[in-house]
Symmetry: none
Subunit: 204 residues, 4 copies
DNA sequence: AATGAATGAGCCTTCATTCAT
DNA sequence: GATGAATGAAGGCTCATTCAT
């Protein structure tokens, strides 16, 4: 029944905080599955709670509100995505190799992670209306632009070209083909890769 | 007491139908104002009705449901936009002139019609989840790609480049700068025009 | 330009009134089709108007309100039904023949006019709550009891048995088998006829 | 800080579930009051919620939807009714006593619980249109037929007569007199009892 | 005689959130 | 730490009815 030392208290608090963070991450993972299936406007906290096997109340215990939860989901995924990009690039030597690797990474992610990306576009669209989403969007795009610039540098291209400019173009192409994949009218991986290659050849 | 001639009946029906169409267009105009202010997810039919000075019931008298109304709004605006583009291009002679005119049209629309465009991006994002929006999105993009191809032809550029490819790039840039304008962090018309010029110089 | 004589006016008014009555009957016929398909609670005036090829306004031109229209439909059908019963009975000679004819008329109507009868039961149920329907229900049941009594007399049975009592029993059986037919679990015409015969043998 | 034993958890869950069931029953009781007053078609969930002293949301917390709530109300009442019948019969010895007791139970319930019974007839009528109500109606009628058969057996009557047949006749008479009571034109308990006695004497 | 336009009240349902336990 | 209970506001939509033409 002796009072715990301050040290013990600190360590206990840290352990708790870590546990809490892990739980949040775990919730986010299952939340993401619902979100990317139904979209921002059509996903209720009920949907998320039931998928996560949690009560509605518990959800609010971990996340301030709906917006906070959604932001958490999106950023954590996109962070992973941009890290993947960076890793892929890091292993490539020479302009041609960089373009090839980058092209491949983008093209295959369009197909593999189509649902996740459409969620990102959904949230990014929300940010045009709701300022609450803007910081998260800015962060994510900062990471994506960084990845783009890494690739440009690694490819040894013209240093004067702006990374954001190139990012915007890539993003335009990426979204367009993502839409094609999801709409299902036309999915031609060759065509996608060829388009990316044409673009990167021009700007890197 | 004489029965109206068939001719009269037909003309009367046509007049009615035209009046109805005009009313729909008028409703759509005010609906658009609310929609572009609040976004798809946050705009209720009540918001729209009150802005249009109409009862909720009347709104449903003219539009089947929320989706139909929103689609009507977006397509009618975007149609006007792409017509403007085509007109602007039609008046330009020579590659340089086309690029200049196109660049100017895009850059200024980003600023002037920022809110309208963000609504378009919102709906286009919805279409990734809700198939109901897809036909409308496809139609609008078809018009935009057509406009792009018109410009490419008028500029006398490389005929082998795909219009959709170019459209996707322009759109990427357009959206990126639109976001900049709306987020308000940075609006530099010079920079926008310069980016568009750089892109069009490369692809036309 | 001479004023029409009073006689002419009267005849014209009568003609109009007859035309109006015909039109009402015609509307009622198509209204009945919808009503017996959807039921009282689920049929809107819109449903009826569209089926009748009329505008909503016109419906109100001919019928005071929803209730009046529905009552009109039900009574006009049930009147026809009870007339059929009377005719069938009128042609039968001898107790056995009356029972046979009556049994056959009831059993076959259960199947042939199932939808119509269920509408009747629906309205009769409404009358337990809404007094507006009561006079119509009373009228119809008066006719049905009359038919029952006709049959009893024609069969030469015990004169002291109350017609309403017999009607209630027949109706119970009728409704029970109607439910069987509509629910679809079991339709055995033999069984139905046998039940009616057993009942009538006992009470006639 | 010790984890609750599995046993405790189970008991707690059971307690919760029981509490929920009690609350549902309580809601159903007050819902029934409104329903039997206004009828299926005219009772809104708002009416029910306000009578139960609950918010509209809470109603949906306990019942999936309007239909589920209504079904719950009707079946729980009718179950009680048929149990009462069985109890009444169980105490009677000899054919005459059974008939007397049964007659009395039916006749007095027509008066005492008129409103409840009319709700039953309303729902049973709905079932002819809406399949959602059919299972409940089938269940209730099964119970009523069972009660009828119990009585028949207890009275020691002809074993070959079908219970459903007898039920249908009783029901016809029951409903007819119920209508008389509710319509208010004529309520004569003597007459009602006499009719039931005449019927049961014939079929038991 | 007939109808298109318009309405306002009402309906069922869903939702994010709060709170006592 | 977690949850069941409860809510109030809001949402999309339907309806019977009225009225000017």
């Amino acid at each position: 029944m002796t009072a715990p030392t301050s040290d013990k208290l600190l360590r206990s608090a840290a352990r708790k905080s870590r546990k809490r963070e892990e739980k949040k991450a775990q919730i986010a993972r299952s939340a993401q599955l619902v979100l990317q299936e139904l979209g921002y406007a059509n996903t209720s906290l009920r949907d998320i709670a039931s998928r996560a096997g949690l009560s509605l109340g518990s959800l609010h215990y971990y996340f301030e509100d709906r917006t906070a939860l959604i932001i958490y989901c999106v950023t954590s995924y996109k962070r992973r995505f941009s890290e993947q990009l960076q890793e892929a690039i890091a292993g490539a030597n020479g302009r041609g190799a960089v373009i090839e690797v980058f092209t491949e990474a983008l093209a295959s992610s369009i197909v593999t992670d189509a649902s996740t990306h459409r969620l990102w576009y959904d949230i990014r669209g929300q940010a045009l209306f709701d300022p609450a989403f803007r910081p998260a969007v800015t962060d994510v795009e900062r990471m994506l632009i960084d990845s783009t610039e890494s690739a440009m540098k690694q490819a040894g291209g013209d240093q004067s070209v702006d990374g954001a400019f190139v990012y915007a173009l890539i993003d335009g192409l990426f979204r367009y083909h993502l839409q094609g994949v999801i709409t299902g009218n036309a999915y031609m991986k060759d065509r996608i890769q060829q388009d990316f290659k044409a673009l990167l050849d021009g700007v890197f």
